[in-house]
């Protein structure tokens, strides 16, 4: 239900940076609180575990479209829509790497 995950890559910079830790929770399944702008961790068939921001939610198809905050980030136009069942959790807490404090 609750997991700690380490962030790698730059696509959510400057908000989430490599080396940051996040606490994710799958509680949205019960509360239904999955919204545009939420940061989620999901499994992708080709790229493994990924972290992205929800851009759009298609409740009929039970899919989300994702994006990053970095201009060169990969979005759903490249990796396709993500099934809500593939979401491991939504970020509920963010432990920033103090190295990036400045």
């Amino acid at each position: 239900m609750i997991k700690i995950i380490k962030v790698t890559g730059e696509s959510l910079s400057p908000f989430y940076l490599p080396g940051d830790y996040i606490l994710i929770c799958k509680c949205f399944y019960f509360s239904g609180s999955l919204n545009r702008g939420d940061i989620v961790v999901f499994t992708h068939s080709s790229y493994g575990l990924m972290i992205k921001e929800i851009d759009r939610i298609n409740f009929e198809l039970q899919q989300i479209h994702v994006k990053g905050s970095h201009p060169l980030s990969v979005d759903s136009s490249k990796i396709g829509p993500i099934a809500i069942t593939d979401i491991l959790g939504k970020v509920v807490f963010h432990f920033k790497n103090p190295k990036h404090a400045n």
């Binding site: 700690i4 962030v7 696509s11 830790y21 493994g48 970095h70 060169l72 990969v74 103090p98």
Partner: protein, 166 residues
């Protein structure tokens, strides 16, 4: 402070990593460039040997040509290593390594042979570099369930290579 605590727990438990991909994952991976680069290394070694066995070694032209061969050998050995590193880092997944446990040591061997091929002009090192990259290519195509075939490269140095049998 809390970050340091989590970091120390991570060192023991290794939390899963989520990738925030930034490059464009085009999905195009092929060991062929690395194979060609490694062949080029052997070709340069052969040309260096031919030049060394020739005459007029004191001429400026000789030194110029030898320098160019060495430069190309250096460049292509490093390119081959780069190509393998990209496939290793971006394409190969845990499941591939579970199925082909020799992959880790093979990639390490390729890195070392690439360096040795730069450091020396010994053809045996160059041929071993080509062989190791061919082994990597064979495993790479196996991960895609694509059969491979062996054939000699249609150009000098004409070594036996692994090609996808499409």
């Amino acid at each position: 402070m809390f970050y340091k605590f989590i970091q120390s727990v991570d060192k023991h438990l290794s939390f899963p990593e989520a990738k925030a991909h930034c490059d464009v994952p085009c999905g195009i991976y092929d060991p062929a460039p690395a194979q060609i680069d490694a062949l080029t290394v052997v070709r340069m070694m052969d040309l260096m040997t031919e030049l060394e066995q020739g005459e007029e070694k004191k001429r400026l032209e000789y030194h110029n040509t030898l320098s160019r061969y060495i430069s190309v050998k250096e460049e292509h050995a490093e390119k081959a290593k780069h190509e393998i590193r990209v496939i290793w880092g971006d394409y190969i997944k845990d499941a591939h390594i579970e199925k082909h446990p020799e992959l880790s040591s093979l990639v390490h061997k390729i890195m070392q042979l690439g360096s040795t091929s730069r450091q020396t002009s010994n053809r045996e090192h160059g041929v071993a570099f080509v062989d190791a990259i061919n082994q990597f290519a064979e495993i790479f195509w196996a991960t895609k369930n694509i059969k491979t075939k062996k054939a000699n490269a249609p150009y000098a140095p004409g070594l036996e290579m692994i090609y996808p049998d499409l």
